[in-house]
């Protein structure tokens, strides 16, 4: 049991890195904006659909990633506009976009529920100048690692700018944003746009790595990412000087390790979502139980 777990550990860690981009996106909506954004269940596969379709048409992998990111941004923008301008509740705005995106994703792939990228195609991880320099077993960890690191640094930098302060204020106390003479709705829209751009990018990267797009790959994205974010944030709660982005990336990796461990213990991949749900419940319950204890003390 332990040997299977250890044997799959490298690929587990890789998965953690690939999904860390997704977790960074969710961090923006959930942790910073305090917005339960279900759009991600649609924008994650959206990124995959766009990037895979473009790759199959012979696009450069990086250009395909950028296009996927832009489409994700557009999806987030729509959710934001629905919520702010049409005054639809946060949860419903996300559900509306998620539902619409399911069909849109199928449209993008030309009606194919499944797309696979041939081994010979050039992706972010193979058949390109940078990847060819690396030994095969190091390609995914290094390329995904660099991507995650770059995004983390960029996000940290952004959060320390004036615009970043405003975004954090919008999730913290809307009244302050209004008092600063800024439209809180616009700030929220900007945050949702950024978050879904990251989510779609993550979907695109995951598809390029597994060389497969599947229309239902988005189901449960939100819960999976939220679990990563909450694990990370809770784990490092007491540690000073750990940036939330670092915590969230660690959370994403740890989440994948937990799931891999459960599977190594004999659970079938079929039970994956059940494991996710149980893990998620465990984290939330232990968090609120702890808080209760404190309140009684």
């Amino acid at each position: 049991m332990l040997s299977t777990f250890l044997a799959t550990l490298p690929s587990t860690l890789e998965q953690g890195l690939l999904y860390a981009v997704l977790a960074l996106g969710i961090m923006i909506t959930y942790t910073i904006l305090d917005f339960p954004d279900l759009t991600v269940d649609g924008s994650f596969p959206l990124g995959g659909a766009v990037s895979t379709t473009l790759l199959l048409r012979g696009w450069d992998p990086l250009a395909a990633l950028l296009a996927a990111t832009a489409c994700g941004a557009l999806a987030g923008l729509c959710t934001g506009l629905i919520h702010v301008k049409l005054r639809v509740r946060a949860l419903f705005s996300g559900i509306i976009m998620m539902t619409a995106l399911y069909s849109i994703n199928l449209r993008i792939t030309g009606g194919n529920a499944l797309l696979s990228i041939p081994r010979t195609a050039s992706t972010l991880f193979r058949n390109n100048a940078a990847a060819d320099l690396l030994p095969p077993w190091l390609r995914v960890p290094i390329i995904a690692g660099l991507l995650v690191l770059a995004l983390k640094v960029l996000l940290d930098l952004f959060l320390s700018t004036r615009a970043g302060y405003l975004l954090r204020a919008a999730g913290d106390n809307e009244t302050v944003v209004t008092a600063l003479g800024r439209d809180k709705g616009n700030v929220k829209i900007a945050g949702l746009t950024m978050a879904n751009a990251l989510v779609a990018l993550s979907g695109a990267v995951v598809c390029q790595e597994q060389r497969l797009f599947e229309v239902s790959m988005g189901t449960g994205t939100m819960v999976l990412a939220l679990a990563s974010v909450i694990i990370g944030v809770n784990l490092f709660r007491r540690v000073e000087r750990v940036r939330p982005t670092t915590a969230v990336i660690a959370g994403s990796i740890l989440y994948k390790v937990c799931v891999a461990f459960a599977i190594a213990c004999g659970l079938s991949p079929m039970d994956m979502k059940l494991v996710t749900a149980a893990l998620f419940l465990g984290i939330l319950a232990s968090g609120s139980l702890k808080r209760k204890e404190k309140a009684h003390a």
Binding site: Y165, R168, D172, N173, V176, T178, L180, R182
Partner: protein, 257 residues
Amino acid sequence: MLELRQIDKVYNPGTVREIGLFSDFSLTVPKGQFVSVVGSNGSGKTTLLNILCGSLPPDSGQVLLDGQDITRQKEHLRARRFARIYQNPALGTCAKMSIRENMALADNKRRRMNLRPGTDRSRLPLWRQMLAELGLGLENMMEARAGSLSGGQRQALALTMSRLTPVDFLILDEHTAALDPKAADIIMHLTDRMVRESGLTAIMVTHNLRFALDYGDRLLMMHQGHAVLDVRDEGKRRLEMEDLLRLFNEISVECGN
């Protein structure tokens, strides 16, 4: 100049809980005037401020700023010329952000919210000095989260933040209510200085009759959506605590409490 013209406001119209608060209420505050507002609970003081600041639309009537009708202007656009301290200390600061970041936010109000560094380090000494004037030791805990401060400390921080913003109007809703007597005195003193130094037009709601008498050029007593007392300058200076208390009791008795 700030003007309310024939404001009507009814809460929950057409229901059993209908509360007709203002009818045909008018108020003119000339530039540079410091108005203290007192009145019993539920007399409409906060509602008055909400209508002024655009947090709440009046049913009818107009709000004018220097003669310009701003009744339909969005709240955040109005906020460019208003600073406001809320009755609830949690509303004025961002709990998850540090004292430094909160001060930086306020200092950025006049600037563009672009990709420049959020904290302008060259302003830190000024922020420390302003916080030191509060006498609460906040200047030594710049990295503490605002949410970890007490209500009074948060209120003091909110007032200091508003001192950093380039505004013409200061709206205060019981901003000393959460403070201990000594801190309340310090904050009240600072408020007065801020109003005088920057030539602000200020409206201060307070339950502290002493503050209402000692500070400001004009005193308004609200009762059920009406100004039952409106004295200024010489008239206000002649007003004694006893007169004020007597009037306050009269309207309370009338109300049956």
